[in-house]
Symmetry: D2
Subunit: 469 residues, 4 copies
Amino acid sequence: MNIDHLKICYIGGGSRNWAWVLMQDLAFEKEIAGTIELYDIKPEDARTNEIIGNALMAKHNGGLWKFHANPSLEDSLSGSDFVFVSILPGDFEEMAVDVHASEKYGIYQSVGDTAGVGGIIRALRTIPQFREIARSVKKYAPDAWVINYTNPMTICTRTLYREFSGIKAFGCCHEVFNTQKLLGAVLEEAGAAPVGSIKREDITTRVLGINHFTWIDKASWKNIDIFPYYKKFVDKYAESGFKGAKAATTFAAGGSGAIDPDETVRLRLFSSVERVKMDLFRRYGLIAAAGDRHLAEFCPHSWYMANATQAESWGFTLTPVSWRIANREKLIKMAKAYRDGTQTMAAVESGEEGLKILKALLGLGNMVTNVNTPNYGQMPDLPSQVVVETNASFSQNNIQPLVSQGLPADIRALVMPHVLAQEGIIEAVFEDDREKAFRVFSHDLAVQLLPLKDSRALFDEMCAKTLKS
Amino acid sequence: MNIDHLKICYIGGGSRNWAWVLMQDLAFEKEIAGTIELYDIKPEDARTNEIIGNALMAKHNGGLWKFHANPSLEDSLSGSDFVFVSILPGDFEEMAVDVHASEKYGIYQSVGDTAGVGGIIRALRTIPQFREIARSVKKYAPDAWVINYTNPMTICTRTLYREFSGIKAFGCCHEVFNTQKLLGAVLEEAGAAPVGSIKREDITTRVLGINHFTWIDKASWKNIDIFPYYKKFVDKYAESGFKGAKAATTFAAGGSGAIDPDETVRLRLFSSVERVKMDLFRRYGLIAAAGDRHLAEFCPHSWYMANATQAESWGFTLTPVSWRIANREKLIKMAKAYRDGTQTMAAVESGEEGLKILKALLGLGNMVTNVNTPNYGQMPDLPSQVVVETNASFSQNNIQPLVSQGLPADIRALVMPHVLAQEGIIEAVFEDDREKAFRVFSHDLAVQLLPLKDSRALFDEMCAKTLKS
Amino acid sequence: MNIDHLKICYIGGGSRNWAWVLMQDLAFEKEIAGTIELYDIKPEDARTNEIIGNALMAKHNGGLWKFHANPSLEDSLSGSDFVFVSILPGDFEEMAVDVHASEKYGIYQSVGDTAGVGGIIRALRTIPQFREIARSVKKYAPDAWVINYTNPMTICTRTLYREFSGIKAFGCCHEVFNTQKLLGAVLEEAGAAPVGSIKREDITTRVLGINHFTWIDKASWKNIDIFPYYKKFVDKYAESGFKGAKAATTFAAGGSGAIDPDETVRLRLFSSVERVKMDLFRRYGLIAAAGDRHLAEFCPHSWYMANATQAESWGFTLTPVSWRIANREKLIKMAKAYRDGTQTMAAVESGEEGLKILKALLGLGNMVTNVNTPNYGQMPDLPSQVVVETNASFSQNNIQPLVSQGLPADIRALVMPHVLAQEGIIEAVFEDDREKAFRVFSHDLAVQLLPLKDSRALFDEMCAKTLKS
Amino acid sequence: MNIDHLKICYIGGGSRNWAWVLMQDLAFEKEIAGTIELYDIKPEDARTNEIIGNALMAKHNGGLWKFHANPSLEDSLSGSDFVFVSILPGDFEEMAVDVHASEKYGIYQSVGDTAGVGGIIRALRTIPQFREIARSVKKYAPDAWVINYTNPMTICTRTLYREFSGIKAFGCCHEVFNTQKLLGAVLEEAGAAPVGSIKREDITTRVLGINHFTWIDKASWKNIDIFPYYKKFVDKYAESGFKGAKAATTFAAGGSGAIDPDETVRLRLFSSVERVKMDLFRRYGLIAAAGDRHLAEFCPHSWYMANATQAESWGFTLTPVSWRIANREKLIKMAKAYRDGTQTMAAVESGEEGLKILKALLGLGNMVTNVNTPNYGQMPDLPSQVVVETNASFSQNNIQPLVSQGLPADIRALVMPHVLAQEGIIEAVFEDDREKAFRVFSHDLAVQLLPLKDSRALFDEMCAKTLKS
């Protein structure tokens, strides 16, 4: 790979979220250069981003990077060194079904894009798209590194491997970073370091589990073991919640928009006060490493969000998709303004690691960070080949996951049903067996509460409204 | 082993259920001979059985077998060739707590001795007893074959191995036999053979899963594949239920009494019309191989017994422990009458396989049947070493489980949480960690429905009422 | 499967060995009936067997079975219920290279069809043929049971599965039977039963390992553990050898001819006095369950056949291929005589189990016997999926291997290099990588003795003389 | 762990090799401080090192580190944060037997401390010592990190875990470093960087295999993939050998002496011209990552050292133990001179990583390097729990091995017999079964060449001369 002439294919290149983050990070990047092929099923959005991106590059790094809207997937992929995948499977109208259709049966969701009824139905429409992507990568860029940002992360990444076993793919997620920020705040709050002095990157965590239900069983900063500090912190804040770690919410918006015109509302809808995380620590002894809105969806329904009021009492919100729809309109306007030059995109480094990982894979700085990859042995107590989230070491053209100690039996009992559900749903799609998909759906922690008749009605309704066939 | 002078230790030798079954089967056994050491924590019950057993032997086989009530476990075990374990962990008053304490929270149970809240609490008081048994076997009879009949079967058998890894133990259960009887009835009902002509032993089934949640993925009689017949049968009876297979209920009384003075009531309380079994077949495609009352307890709470009415609508009963208590009194009277000779025990072969297996292990006839053993490879998709139920081949001093094909992903998703819960509860007891036990309890399919506060209250109440410490 | 109209495809149907054995066994078979499609790359041999077979059937069982020479593989396979594969990969002239080419380098072989230089080179020409067979089965008879008799057994069977993972194939070999006969003789010799009274089928053995290097770690007859008897037997005969078990040699002729006109010579060339087997028992404590000529080839070269004299001193012969060539002529003459009716084939039951297994798979009698299948869990200490030899249970349309206890560490160390070599050679052929094949060859126990230059020369010579490309 | 008051126990504290290296490295270390308890079965050697070490510290870092000769193992261990183990199992007179006793049978060895007859017999006397160490660590310092430098590395480390499964131990070896130096030289030689400019630490290698038979399947420097360069290098030097990488030999002296009075002789006896390494690359395609003298001992005997002349023709020497004995005298004199102050030890950083790893475990700088640990999943194609050498990530109180891609089938076939032999020899000692040890010995690549009678004689002789009982 020629580091001065890299070719990067961005699938979902019309994105107003991750694509913009990438642009902003590239604005600071001068060690490597190349072209970003922006491919999107909405070519006009890609074209907009081409204009925005090139303007930003021109201003900040002398145009080392070119953005190029490319209507051909084949052409975008051919010869690529890297492929980013950041798409929205379906649209927010379909996501509204994922998230809200079940409410009439008493099933509420805080995010609805990973686990639970929303995650399952979203998977049903995402898996076929990722099979298609995997087939294209196999055909046009079999040696490229494929970096996935799309949810449901585990299922998307696993699908890539099931379709093309030789793919070099992994999934990136910033939820663990937010937890690392929290751990920094924990130390600062205890006086172990001046407030604001600890960098997230310097918090070392041993990560294990699956995406959005990830755990930390060892955490340190310099020569300090963070666990005793965290225990005291939890003792103090478990009931009241902790509101200090504002930084932790910066990208909690997920698939919806990095730059927000109405920050107050957004913060209320996406942030939490970490009470779920602290409650899990009190009971299980490990640090759950994702936002509370995600964690709650992996736990028994009665624990944190039997209803909207209960969620609120735990200090997090059931994010309505209506907000995402409204926010989309604002972002579209903003994109137009950037494109037409009536507004200028600021260049601020995101703190995301995508670019750093890419450089590590080029040989420009080894690093260890958390990532989603097939289980080759790093989680000895979970089934082989399922996609897990652990640390991995990145170096020139090489990823190697770090072997974890495995989950304690009780946490494993919480995690495993989700692993099996994810495998089941993928299997159902690969076998084109809608009935098997329903059976997996019927085992879901919340769906289990319903009589089978209602499970069936809900499943059929959601499929009818969100799936093409 | 000298087949004319065998020594068999019977732990729980005062039993008025399995011990009587064994006596009756031994009454017909003339190929081997020896002594049964009856050990029981209630020595007077063992003494009563000694008298009953010896009277039966004198009458039927010239006293080839001696029964001997032995108050010393050491003495009973030392030099034994076989050890039967058939105990009631605690008493029926404690079992009443296992089964009924949760009802005020809306959690109902049909049996309450294997899975669910009842199974878990029962396990908490059973595991220490089985650790003690394992230690005694290690000390006094390390080479003996240990045959367990006690529930929770999986947990009891697994405990034996965790405490003494060199033990030669396995667990026997007749639930699969009842399903085999049903399959015979299915063929007869379809006219494939005259009614009453098919012997259970001639139904070949491929068995896999865990005790009381066991599955059959292949069944045949002679050169006939039973699955197509079963499918038609289910089409016909899934709604109405099937009442024909009376034979199938003979031993459904579990830990409560083989000989029943009031058969009508008992049948109503213990039998089912197989609707759960048929419903599972319609959805999952495999034959569930246990009584409906057991199967229902392994499934999401809302499916079959969200409440007592629902259970009834599926054709099975939530057996009240009060019946077991009342029945106990009748059995005690009956035992007294047998002992005093005012009544004579009839000798009827039970159809149980305990004796046949024992003889196979002596080299007197190889056989293949279902059994509960650690997973050495026979269930490649379940964790290693957990106790599973599959077929095994028995021959002289040798058991070898048969490798199964593994469970389909969706059934595996139903089974695995129970496997993990069983492991977790054993781990909790071995680590003397009551909190871990509570966490496992809190993950239970039904307990999940409760707010954590209620889970805790229920757990604490049940522990307080049933556990010594 | 209609047991009155079975279709069996016999690949290698011109065989004058296994095909004749099958005919003779079918002569006694009246419970099932059908047609044997004889396919052979030498159609005239198949035609000869058709005539011989039909004459035999006409005489003995009223023509229940039809033999039909079929020049089309597609036609032979289509709709078959069973497929037998018993072919000679290449001809005896090529086998002469397998066996004798290495002698100039001091490498001698007793059989040369399984392990060692002969086995490896034979595998190189066999694997492509078995890939072709697997592809045809997949296309024309995917549900048929495929029973392989061809050597190298492990490699042939494994190839079938690698090419068509859904195949229902297994490999049968009688070497374990011969060892069971020997064990019967051991008991009779010790006076435990009258001479000639013990039937091989009644010797129960726990079998584990790989074909021709199979082991028995438990053996019994009725309630007698055979190991103590075998130990005394070895003490007595280890030095002198044991010549009594004539029966054990009946089919030791392997791929060369079941009916021998010059029995004295043949016996000398194929029999042994069991000294290798007894020596292995003395050192390793388990019973090696194959003929000495096979066992010796799996052991370090210096132990039993550093040269022809040493082999003789251990009581076995390095069978020259010249005998097979000469014998072939006699068999051809005999076939002609049978065909032309100038001689009549006698009907004698072989003691082979092929037909019994076939009937078990039809549901006509469950049985447990040893067989070669992929490792699904039955040999937990060998790699998954490699073909191993253990007991398996056969029933209607079902095989289930019996989980073994695993090999002791020291025997495993003897067996594993062969497992890895077999995997390596298959991989080399599937990847079309002759260099990898050479590297596997160069690791062989005997080839290791040679300087690399000589290994290379030998490999190249053998390939040139026996492989098409 | 208080980084200003660390307690380090050095078992083998009288060492004139690794102990001196450690002193010299500590001379430069000012970030952490503490006491080194020097324990040795020769207390006077520990006392000598105490004086030497303290003098060095006084001179270079103001005495931040104290050396203390401690005659009590209990006292040395109690409360230790780290334990170094660097002992000579037995003495050089016994090692002379390990290495040379087999020569009369035509078996030559280049090192004789890891694999082969020397490695096996050395293991027989080392394992009991390491069991004793493990028991002491369990008793007195169960939470300490134990860093082993003793050979046979794999067996010593595995023994620690088998005796005390909760131990936090790993083994360090510099052979991979030397290969990394060579790879730097390869790039420099090709003009990719100025000669002498590449630092070993900047060569990134993916390491897998077992100690002294370790492999590299991926190597890079900055954004350069080294494999194509190495291929050209091998094409150029495979026949002539490469003499340039002098640096690579600095510590090749193994257990014998870091500071050499007669460098010319030593270099001749310990260095190589990398021809074995290059030959293995030509054939297997991966980079063998140990010195040629070690590599040759893991390969078939005929390949590189059928005799002394052949070794020489491959450019390496069969190091005679007589040199070690003579060198020992020089080192004893030197120690005396250091102790008495008639000579002053120079402080030169060694390039070893022991101290760096120790600091990483204290939280003072995460790092990734190669290390020997139990196989938890990092080598999915080797048995679980055996000790393997791969990269691992070190951070505060945490080691996590990096999951490798597994060995290609042909290299695995070379490595596995050694893995099984190592396991077998450990098992034999733990079971106190000398016969099993002999069987493992008899399978050795070179011993296989001998008739069993000679194997036995050699084994008995070596045991008699080197083992206490």
